[in-house]
Symmetry: C2
Subunit: 139 residues, 2 copies
DNA sequence: CGGCTTTCGATGCAACTGCATCTATGTAGA
DNA sequence: TCTACATAGATGCAGTTGCATCGAAAGCCG
């Protein structure tokens, strides 16, 4: 029961968020996640292989997502001084701007879909229970 | 917090289930869901458009999924007496067999990923909270 | 140094998805 | 009946993902 509901609800909710973004002529949620992580790394930027774990994506999807973001001028790729293989990706001003515009839609969608449906205590309980299902678990 | 965790945990878990199925040389989870719904309809079969809502898929994905299942001999398509547009899909013996073999892996994965991580009370609470997020909500 | 293995990231190809549209049948209203 | 619209399902095309593999740069070890 809990399993089935978890699968259905999560799909239903992320679909609604994607729809909201589409209605606002904005790119998919994955772009937001990436811009969020990259923005959090600041001016120093972040190594793509670190994004693999943080975004729960496989290597080739990160590679391609970053290629698209770069193509749109949302991030820039920089050489890494000590390592000729790697690169560092850093958010651009256009990237920060898009992230802000996406958050305006995304944040509001989350609020409507979750924040207004559960009280503070329920939200905390839900987060705690889900934490136990995480790998590694968080208590 | 709850939102982010819901997104991450659900993706992480369904990925693990898909991995388990792959390791067993079994098709993706969506095939199980479809076979499950179709099997539940029994000998009478079920109309594809009913699967759209039940599986949270869009029309063309149902159409193609059913085409694949039929191609593998897991279901059969029957004409509908009173309606020349539509069809009825019914599970075959091969379909029932595959569903059983998938469940052996799937069910065990669910148990390991969820059943053994939360007690009965927690599972019930989780299901209840998720129910409130559903559309339409279930209390 | 010289070969062997590992790590970082990109990519060719096949399968799958999203989007729009199509065909065919059914329904309703003038 | 004839026309307009609605519903069931399929499909062409472009974009995306999965899978395997590649190339290039490090790291390791005799």
């Amino acid at each position: 029961m809990a399993w089935a509901r978890l699968m259905r609800v999560s799909r239903q909710l992320s679909e609604k968020v994607e729809d909201a973004l589409k209605r606002g002529d904005l790119p998919p949620l994955a772009w937001y996640d990436a811009l969020h992580e990259i923005a959090a790394a600041g001016e120093a930027g972040i190594r793509p292989f670190l994004l693999i774990d943080r975004m729960l994506l496989v290597q080739y999807n990160v590679s391609r997502l970053l290629a698209r973001l770069e193509g749109e001028g949302l991030i820039e790729k920089l050489e890494v001084p000590g390592d000729g293989r790697g690169q560092t990706v850093r958010i651009t001003e256009a990237g920060r701007d898009l992230r802000r515009r996406m958050w305006a839609v995304y944040g509001q969608a989350i609020d409507g879909l979750v924040g207004r449906k559960l009280g503070t205590a329920d939200l905390e309980t839900l987060a705690r229970l889900l934490g136990k299902l995480r790998d590694p678990p968080v208590d």
